[in-house]
């Protein structure tokens, strides 16, 4: 087994050098890590599992990668090797991302982006890498299904002053403030997405489309008390029946409060805020716009 292991590692290195990621991964996965003949120490096993998972991920093969990440999850808690632990976290986050568990992936990316040390073992963690992790976290959150949970995570990012320097910040701000996103903004956001984040879903919408439609629908529910599906479809840029279907799904999953009158083809949004509290909100808006008028007047010297 010893000789086989050495040959496999050597071959895997060669495949890796030729960027044949999956072949390298398969070569390494042939090593029997649970062999009863030789006792392999845990950190060696962990390093191999993480290595194989990373190679599979280079080819966007989340399924095989997850197999080895799961094996690594039993070993990582006892590991003292911070480099390995970090690599494991990155694998785990990327797999969640590929499996479209965007909110979980976002939290993992965010945890990685908050690493304080700049040197782990002989690896240097540069700001660029942390910024990438933070951007990945924000991207995943924006792609996550709209609702209260996502709003909470968005609030975290919005208050994290590192985010204000990211290229993605303008869209983060609009999403957090629940403003409707226009087509140009969505297209510019789409430019930096990974392949699997633009993949087509069974209902012939991309992941991004669904996320944006749901977000805009939720934003509309804050703006209007009710709206016809005709209008809503026009606002969201989709067919009215499609709008009704997405709205009903969000209401059913309790991610949006409202009721649908199918006879009239109308949706009535509910706001669980008490009327008296809404009144105070409206007063805040009034005072602020009065303040703006006064500021404009003082700027004009009136």
């Amino acid at each position: 087994e010893e000789q086989v292991l050495i040959i496999r590692e050597k071959l895997a290195e060669l495949y890796e050098a030729e960027q044949e990621w999956s072949k390298a991964a398969r070569m390494l996965s042939g090593i029997d890590l649970d062999s009863s003949i030789r006792l392999l120490d845990e950190s060696y096993k962990l390093s191999k599992c993480v290595k194989i998972a990373s190679l599979y991920l280079e080819d966007d093969d989340a399924v095989n990668a997850e197999t080895f990440t799961n094996k690594a999850s039993f070993l990582v808690n006892n590991s003292k090797q911070e480099v390995l632990v970090l690599q494991y976290k990155v694998c785990a986050a990327r797999i969640l991302d590929m499996k479209r568990k965007f909110l979980d992936a976002a939290l993992k990316y965010y945890e990685i982006s908050q690493i304080e040390k700049r040197q782990i073992g002989d690896e240097w963690i540069d700001e660029e890498a942390l910024e990438q992790a933070l951007t990945a976290a924000v991207t995943c959150t924006i792609l996550a299904p709209a609702g209260p949970q996502r709003s909470r995570v968005l609030a975290n990012f919005y208050k994290d002053e590192r985010c204000s320097k990211l290229k993605i910040y303008p869209i983060l701000e609009k999403v957090y403030l629940e403003r409707i996103l226009r087509k140009p903004e969505i297209d510019s956001f789409a430019e930096d997405l990974k392949e699997h984040q633009k993949a087509l879903l069974p209902d012939n919408f991309t992941v991004l489309d669904r996320a944006m439609i749901e977000h805009n629908l939720l934003s509309a529910s804050k703006l209007y008390t009710n709206i016809s599906f005709e209008e809503l479809g026009a606002l969201l840029g989709i067919a009215p029946p499609k709008a009704e279907k997405i709205a009903s799904k969000m209401i059913y999953e309790d991610r949006m409060k409202g009721s649908i009158d199918q006879v009239e083809a109308f949706i009535h949004f509910d706001d669980d805020k008490e009327e008296l509290q809404q009144w105070d909100q409206h007063i805040v808006g009034l005072c602020q716009s009065l303040n703006d008028v006064l500021d404009t007047m003082s700027k004009k010297g009136l």
């Binding site: 009144w279 716009s289 404009t296 004009k300």
Partner: protein, 40 residues
């Protein structure tokens, strides 16, 4: 632009106008009067 700002400000009045608000407001009004009565 200033006049536009002023007109959008005026268009926001009244701050809220709904039957439910009236009910809640009067409910709160009566609750407070009741507490005052009890205190008396």
């Amino acid at each position: 632009s200033l006049l536009r700002q002023v007109s959008s400000l005026l268009r926001r009045l009244p701050a809220i106008e709904s039957g439910k608000f009236q009910d809640d407001f009067l409910m709160e009004y009566n609750d407070t009067l009741l507490i005052t009565y009890l205190a008396m």
